[in-house]
Symmetry: C2
Subunit: 323 residues, 2 copies
């Protein structure tokens, strides 16, 4: 029932969000439009604009101009995905061929740049420097998170704090800033702006950790190859727990393969199976649960209006995600 | 004498500009710092911040906080260069190895993203939405120009209007916006803001056309391989004039090689020699001269203060550039 309420609400917002995205992208240079449409039409739940809209409404902003502002966060996210696909040399994204396999890499990078610039211009048009600061903060931190992730690749000694810093930058900040953007637009008090940001940030940390747990789920369940993080050299929470559980000789072999990037599909499948059998994916979800509790606590510092219930349902949704 | 005045003035501004650049980059994520320093320390005349500073002073802004704002345009420019080097697969830049040959391509792209985000954040901190709009306009148009250039590559039927649109986007706009930024910061009148922009824009168009003429100068003069634009499939003004001068059979051979990207170093050298002998590089400079006149006219609509003389000297400098 609760899930249905959220689903209905998300579905109801999808059309105006997509309309606003179309409008925002109309002014883009013609040659990049197919690339931008490719990434935006590949799906995505529009969680970021949804967070901005919910937060703004919760804090008393009732006007429909929120859609134009909210989609800037999806544009930033899409720009990041375009650059990521080139960086990772990814073959597919959300079940579609990755943009750079359809278009050339140079155009994909420039499409990301143009999309980001357009989003930035839209935010600037609102004429409120706090909104522009929020947007540029989101951009800076997302880039910083990805940079840190790359510089930490294949390191078996990655600390939990370093992992959290990466998750913070590459995922959580953008969700936090999406909420902050809505709160700022609603002219909320500093305490409410902070609570909105804290909600999004903790939701984002949980989202990333659940994502990391799902990386070791069977491919039939998620539609993605199992254990991709192990192959790419990302020491996520389930993988750290797995590594700690190994005996000396086994761990030495794992460390060597992980550091050298020689974990193949078969080995990744075996690691994933072992992670599930030993319950390390479940353990990671428990860590995510702690951040979801922090998110719920932050939501508790926001006004008791119907939209707060939606935010709480989103926390439930993130915790229960199975693919 | 005139050149000396400009040179002295540029030299005097170089230290505070570089100091402001260092300060601005301090907050960047540590892993990208070496990449950013690589591109910023590779030289560059800092023309863009210099334009912002001159325009702001000319229009009555005397405070030194202009340096912090002015360097955002150099940061945008450097971010573009970082992405360009990856896109073009360039081997060197300003006589130094290109960033992506020293660092990995993924880090270079992300360093560009982080640099742009940081510049954006600095502009937002000034708390004036017009400045943020100016910055995002510069970013959007630069990306659009580069995208258009890529989509027009190897086209022998590129029109003069299309060429100008590319030059406008990839070079001239940023110089125009650099001037506008200074004028806005000085709280200039709309007419003065427009004149400042027109000056920079036309200076930029001339700059690009002179650059295109210099592409066919002997390598000993410029330190760059001759005729790179012919090899890369860019139909610049001297090359269009050259193509028009060819007889039917010769033109067909040129068109085929240009469209297929099979112009080699030797053929490019021969084309360049012919362009110089027939004076097409000189003819391109004459076109540049017309834009410089427009730039001077625009400067004429600005107050008659010492900085206006500097702007006029810059127009002379762009026209006389030999490497």
């Amino acid at each position: 029932m609760a899930a249905l309420i959220l689903k209905t609400r998300l579905a109801a917002e999808l059309a105006p969000i997509n309309k606003a995205l179309d409008d925002a992208c109309e002014a883009l240079p013609a040659p990049v439009l197919p690339i931008v449409r490719h990434i935006l039409n590949a799906g995505g739940k529009r969680l970021r604009p949804f967070l901005t809209i919910c937060t703004a409404r919760l804090l008393g902003h009732d006007r429909d101009d929120i859609y134009g502002l909210a989609v800037t966060m999806e544009m930033l996210h899409a720009a990041t995905l375009l650059h990521d696909d080139v960086l990772d040399n990814a073959v597919s994204r959300r079940g579609q061929p990755a943009a750079h396999t359809v278009f050339n890499a140079a155009s994909v990078i420039l499409a990301g740049d143009a999309l980001l610039a357009r989003a930035n211009a839209i935010v600037a048009q609102f004429g409120n420097p706090a909104l522009s600061q929020c947007f540029s903060e989101a951009t800076s931190r997302t880039a910083a998170g990805e940079i840190l992730e790359i510089s930490c690749m294949r390191r078996v000694d990655l600390s939990e704090a370093e992992y959290l810093q990466i998750a913070h930058g590459k995922t959580a900040c953008l969700l936090g800033e999406s909420c902050r953007l809505g709160a700022l637009r609603a002219n909320a008090s500093p305490g409410e702006v902070r609570a909105a940001y804290d909600f999004g940030l903790n939701l984002g940390l949980a989202f990333q950790i659940v994502d990391d747990a799902l990386d070791f789920a069977p491919g039939e369940q998620t539609g993605k190859p199992t254990g991709g993080d192990a192959r790419e050299g990302k020491l996520t929470p389930p993988l750290r727990l797995y590594r700690q559980s190994l005996g000396h000789a086994e761990r030495e072999a794992f460390d060597r393969a992980f550091a050298n990037g020689t974990i193949d599909e078969q080995m990744a499948g075996e690691i994933a199976k072992s992670i599930r059998e030993k319950g390390f994916d479940h353990a990671a979800r428990q860590i995510a649960g702690e951040y979801l509790q922090k998110a719920r606590d932050a939501a508790g510092r926001l006004p008791d209006r119907p939209e707060r219930k939606i935010l709480l349902l989103m926390a439930d949704y993130v915790g229960a995600r199975e693919k």
